[in-house]
C-alpha cells in the first residue's frame, strides 16, 4: 500500500525548483507522446523548443505571445495571493477586446493620438467590470467566485459573437463574423522593425514591475498577502475582507482587459468571434508555474508561449492535431501540482501500522 505523509519542513529550495522539475518532466512526457504517435521524438522536441526561436522573427513571435499571458497572469496573481480565485480571465480578456474595439470603431474617423490610451482605458474598464460581477456576488451574497467568474466566460463568448454577427459586423466584410479592420491610429506601433512585436510587450513588462511593487511594497498589497496567508490575522488586524475580494478580482479583470485590448490593437487588428484564444485560462497555469511572483511569471509566460507556438509548428510540420499544445499545457500544470505534493509530503510504501 502507498501512503502520503506530510513532511515536517518542506524544503524552501525545492519550492523554487519544482517549476523547473515540472518543465523537465513535461519534456520527458512529451518525448513519450511523440514516440507513441510514431513520430521521431527528437524531431518533435526540435519543433517544439528550438524551431520557434531559431531566428529573430521567431523570438519576436514568442514575446508577442507571452505578452497577453504575462498580463493576465500578473493580474490573477494579485488575487491568488489573497486566496481570491478568479478563473474567468478568459472572459475578462474578451470584454477587454470588446471595450477597446468599441472605442476604435466609434472613433474610426479620428486619427487623434488619444485613441490608443482611450482604447487601453476602455479595455481595462470593461475587463474590470466583468470581474466586478463575481466580486459583487461574492461580497453581497457569498457566491463562490470560482464558479461565477468561470461561467461568465461563456457569457462573454456569446456576447462577442452577438456583436460581430450583429451590430458590429463589417458591412464590407462579405458577411464574415468580424468588425472592420482598425485604422492606423487604433493600432499599436511595432517596436521591432520587420516583426509583429508591438508596444504591448514593453508595456507588459512595466505592468509586471508595477505588479511586483504593488504586491511587495504597497500597503494594500501587504494586506492582500496577509489575507492570503492567514485570514484570521487579517481579521484581527482589521483588514477588510470585502476590499480584498474587490481588489483581487478588479486587478485580474483590468489586467486581462488590457491584454485583450493589446490583442485587437496588435496582431488581430479587428474583433472577430475567434478572439478567445485561451490566454486567460493558460494564464492560470502561468501564474502558478511562476509561483505568483512577477519574475517567475515572466519566465513562465515565455515557457507557455513556447508551448503555444511549438504546438502550432508541430501541427504544421509533423501533422499532429492542434490540441497537442493543450496537452502540453495540461502536462505542465499536472507535473507542477504533482511536484508540489511531493515537496509537502513524502511517499511511504507498506501498510500503515494500526
Amino acid at each position: 500500500m502507498l501512503r502520503l505523509e506530510a513532511r515536517a519542513e518542506p524544503s524552501y529550495l525545492m519550492r523554487w525548483c519544482s517549476p523547473l522539475l515540472a518543465a523537465a518532466l513535461t519534456l520527458l512526457a512529451g518525448l513519450a507522446i511523440f514516440w507513441l504517435l510514431d513520430k521521431d521524438p527528437l524531431e518533435g522536441l526540435r519543433y517544439f523548443l528550438v524551431h520557434p526561436v531559431k531566428d529573430l522573427y521567431g523570438v519576436s513571435e514568442l514575446l508577442l505571445k507571452a505578452t497577453p499571458l504575462m498580463l493576465c497572469a500578473i493580474g490573477l496573481a494579485v488575487g491568488f495571493r489573497a486566496n481570491v480565485w478568479n478563473i474567468g480571465a478568459e472572459g475578462q480578456f474578451m470584454l477587454g477586446t470588446v471595450g477597446a474595439s468599441g472605442v476604435a470603431l466609434y472613433f474610426a474617423e479620428s486619427d487623434s493620438a488619444l485613441i490608443l490610451p482611450a482604447m487601453l482605458a476602455a479595455g481595462a474598464a470593461a475587463g474590470a467590470l466583468w470581474a466586478a460581477i463575481p466580486a459583487l456576488l461574492r461580497t453581497r451574497f457569498n457566491a463562490n467566485e470560482i464558479l461565477v467568474s468561470l461561467m461568465l466566460v461563456y457569457v462573454a463568448q456569446l456576447f462577442v459573437s452577438w456583436l460581430v454577427f450583429g451590430p458590429w459586423r463589417d458591412p464590407m466584410g462579405f458577411g464574415f463574423p468580424q468588425t472592420a479592420m482598425f485604422h492606423d491610429a487604433a493600432l499599436l506601433p511595432v517596436v521591432l522593425e520587420g516583426t509583429r512585436l508591438h508596444l504591448g510587450f514593453p508595456f507588459g513588462l512595466a505592468v509586471l514591475a508595477a505588479g511586483y511593487v504593488f504586491m511587495n511594497r504597497s500597503y494594500p498589497g501587504f494586506r492582500m498577502r496577509v489575507a492570503g496567508e492567514a485570514a484570521d490575522a487579517a481579521r484581527y488586524a482589521g483588514f477588510s475582507t470585502r476590499r480584498t475580494v474587490w481588489i483581487g478580482l478588479l486587478a485580474g479583470g483590468a489586467a486581462a482587459g488590457v491584454a485583450g485590448m493589446m490583442e485587437v490593437a496588435g496582431p488581430m487588428g479587428q474583433l472577430t468571434d475567434k478572439v478567445g484564444l485561451g490566454y486567460g485560462f493558460a494564464a492560470i497555469i502561468v501564474a502558478f508555474v511562476g509561483r505568483l511572483h512577477a519574475f517567475g511569471i515572466l519566465l513562465a509566460s515565455l515557457l507557455m508561449a513556447l508551448l503555444f507556438i511549438g504546438g502550432e509548428q508541430a501541427q504544421q510540420y509533423m501533422n499532429l492535431p492542434g490540441s497537442i499544445s493543450l496537452v502540453f499545457q495540461g502536462l505542465l500544470l499536472f507535473f507542477l501540482l504533482g511536484s508540489d505534493v511531493f515537496i509537502h509530503h513524502r511517499l511511504r510504501v507498506g501498510r500503515a501500522a494500526a
Partner: protein, 518 residues
C-alpha cells in the same frame, strides 16, 4: 533473589538536531513503574521535542531508548501505543460533531462495536472517577469533560506510561484536585506518568521525581517534595524567580472601556452566546476576567476587538465612543490594542517576518506606512526596538514569526501592541504556555502599562496570574459576566465557586447544567 526490575522507560544520550537549533542534547531520564515523573522547563527548553521522541512523533538524531529493559526504536505514535505509551495533548484532538464513543472508536485499532465500547468506557470512567457519558456529543461537553474523554481514550488501551502535556491549564481549581486523584490512583496501580508542566506548586503536590531541562539539556534531577518553588525555578531558569512589583491602582481614572449590556449570538453553532454583559474598565487599573475556557471569553474578546461586529453601537464603548459597529481597524484608531489568544495565524502571520508582522497592527499608530507604501526601514526599526525592549530571543527582525518559541512570540506581540501607546489594552491569556521568566516579564510589562495610565483588561484561565496582577476580578460563566470585585477582597476559592456560575445575584439559568463546574 531477583535482580531489581529495569525501569519502565530509560533514555540515554537523546539528541535532536533541527536545521537551526539543537532541541535536545544528551538527555538521560528514567521512569520507574508507578512513578509520577515531572518534566520541567522553560519554553524552548526541549520538553515538547523530548515527548514527541518518546511518543514516536519525531525521530532522535542520536541516543537510545529502553522500554522495560529492552532497546526500542519508536517509529510512529501507533508503535508507541502498541508498546503501551499513551499521550494526552494540551490541545484536544476530538471531533465535535461525533459522540464520545465514536471519538474513542476512531483512535482504537480494529472496529469494536459501539455498544461494547460504550460499556467499556463507562467501566473505565467509573473505576477512575472520570464521569463521562459515552453517548453525548463532544460539542456539548465542557473543556474538563473533553479532557476526561482524552484520558479515558488513552486508558482503554491499558497504557503503562501516560504522558500528560500541561493538563491543568484548562481546569478549575476544583477540577485540578479531581484530576490529581485520578492520576494518583493510576500510579498506585502501576502506571507510570510523565507530567509536563510549568506550574511548580502542582508539581510539588503531585510528582514523585522531576527532571529539569534548560536549553535542551538536563539541568538537574530532583524530588519536588524536598524542594521549594524558588529552588526549582532556579534549576529551570538558572536565576532567581522574579517577583512582580504591584502598587495600588490609581483611583479616579475615567472609564476607557465600557460594556453596556452587551449581548451577541455566536456565529459558531458550538460557540457561546454573550448575555447582557456589563463592565467598566478605568484608566490606570487592571481588570481580570477569570473562567474556564469556552464560557464566552473568545466571543467577548472578538466583540471588543471588532473582529465580530455587533448589532448596535452602544454596548461597546471605547474612550467614550460608541464602537459596536466599528471595524477592528477603526477601533485601533480609538486607542485599543489587543493581544489575542492564538499567536500564530491570528496574532501573527506565521510565514511572514517580524518586520512584516510589526506592520500588521502597528501600521497606523507607529506610522509604518507612507503614502500607501510600507516604510520597511521604519518597520524594521520598530520591530528591532520591540525585540530589544521586550527581550525577544530571535535571530532579528527578518526571521519568520513561526520560527520563534511560543514565549518569545508572545513577548513580541505584547511588545508590538504596547509600543503603540494604547489607551485601552486588552490581552487574552498573556502567559499561556510561556515559561516563568518570560511570564514574569510580561506581567510586569502589563503592570507598568497600567501605571502609565492605560486601562487594561486581561482574560486568563490562570487564577494565580489574575490575583498577581489584577486590581479587580470578574468571572465569566456560560456567556455571562459576574460583577467585578477588588482582588484584595476575594480569594481563589470564592472565584473558583463563581466559575460555576454561582455568584450572588446570578440568574438561575446559569446554574442549570453546571457546565462550567465540570
Amino acid at each position: 533473589m531477583n535482580p531489581p526490575a529495569p525501569p519502565r522507560l530509560r533514555l540515554a544520550g537523546i539528541r535532536k538536531v533541527y536545521p537551526t537549533v539543537v532541541a535536545n542534547d544528551g538527555i538521560a531520564l528514567a521512569v520507574e513503574a508507578g512513578e509520577i515523573h515531572a518534566v520541567l522547563g522553560e519554553n524552548g527548553a526541549g520538553k515538547s521535542t523530548l515527548m514527541k521522541i518518546i511518543y514516536g512523533a519525531a525521530r532522535p538524531s542520536a541516543g537510545e531508548m529502553w522500554w522495560e529493559g529492552e532497546r526500542v526504536e519508536v517509529a510512529n505514535p501507533a508503535q508507541a501505543r502498541a508498546l503501551g505509551i499513551g499521550m494526552v495533548f494540551q490541545h484536544f484532538s476530538l471531533f465535535e460533531t461525533l459522540t464520545v464513543a465514536e471519538n474513542v472508536a476512531l483512535a482504537l485499532p480494529g472496529k469494536p462495536p459501539l455498544s461494547e465500547l460504550a460499556r467499556r468506557i463507562e467501566e473505565v470512567s467509573q473505576h477512575y472517577g472520570l464521569p463521562v457519558d459515552p453517548r453525548r456529543h463532544v460539542h456539548a461537553l465542557s473543556v474538563g469533560e473533553r479532557q476526561r474523554v482524552e484520558i479515558v481514550r488513552c486508558l482503554l488501551q491499558n497504557p503503562k506510561l501516560l504522558i500528560m502535556d500541561e493538563p491543568t491549564s484548562v481546569l478549575t481549581p476544583q477540577a485540578v484536585e479531581k484530576l490529581f486523584d485520578t492520576l494518583r490512583q493510576l500510579a498506585a496501580e502501576g502506571c507510570s506518568i510523565l507530567y509536563i508542566s510549568h506550574k511548580l506548586d502542582e508539581i510539588q503536590a503531585l510528582c514523585h521525581t522531576a527532571t529539569v531541562l534548560r536549553g535542551g539539556r538536563v539541568s538537574g534531577h530532583c524530588r519536588p517534595a524536598e524542594e521549594t518553588p524558588q529552588s526549582m525555578a532556579r534549576l529551570m531558569t538558572g536565576r532567581d524567580l522574579p517577583v512582580c512589583e504591584h502598587g495600588p491602582a490609581a483611583a479616579g481614572g475615567e472609564v476607557r472601556l465600557r460594556l453596556a449590556g452587551l449581548s451577541h449570538a455566536s456565529d459558531d453553532p458550538f460557540g457561546t452566546d454573550l448575555k447582557d454583559i456589563h463592565l467598566d474598565v478605568h484608566a490606570g487599573e487592571i481588570v481580570g476576567i477569570a473562567g474556564v475556557s469556552g464560557n464566552g471569553q473568545q466571543e467577548l474578546l472578538r466583540a471588543i476587538s471588532g473582529e465580530d461586529i455587533i448589532a448596535e453601537k452602544f454596548p461597546v464603548q471605547i474612550c467614550g465612543v460608541e464602537a459596536g459597529r466599528l471595524s477592528a481597524g477603526r477601533r485601533r484608531r480609538l486607542g485599543l490594542c489587543f493581544v489575542p489568544e492564538e499567536r500564530l495565524g491570528r496574532g501573527t502571520v506565521p510565514s511572514m517576518s517580524l518586520t512584516d508582522n510589526a506592520v500588521l497592527t502597528a501600521a497606523r499608530n507607529a506610522r509604518l506606512v507612507h503614502a500607501g507604501f510600507v516604510a520597511f526601514g521604519r518597520a524594521r526599526r520598530f520591530a528591532a526596538e520591540c525585540i530589544a525592549r521586550f527581550d525577544v530571543r530571535c535571530g532579528g527582525p527578518q526571521v519568520e514569526a513561526e520560527s520563534l518559541s511560543g514565549g518569545n512570540l508572545q513577548k513580541f506581540i505584547v511588545g508590538r501592541e504596547m509600543l503603540q501607546a494604547p489607551r485601552v489594552f486588552v490581552c487574552a491569556q498573556p502567559t499561556w504556555g510561556v515559561d516563568v521568566g518570560a511570564a514574569a516579564f510580561i506581567r510586569q510589562a502589563i503592570i507598568d502599562l497600567r501605571n502609565r495610565g492605560c486601562a487594561v483588561l486581561v482574560v486568563s484561565e490562570e487564577l494565580d496570574e489574575l490575583f498577581e496582577i489584577c486590581d479587580r476580578i470578574a468571572v465569566m460563566a456560560q456567556g455571562r459576566l459576574s460583577p467585578a470585585r477588588p482582588a484584595a477582597e476575594t480569594g481563589v476559592e470564592n472565584i473558583g465557586l463563581w466559575m460555576s456560575g454561582l455568584w450572588p445575584g446570578a440568574d438561575g439559568s446559569a446554574t442549570e447544567t453546571g457546565r462550567a463546574a465540570a
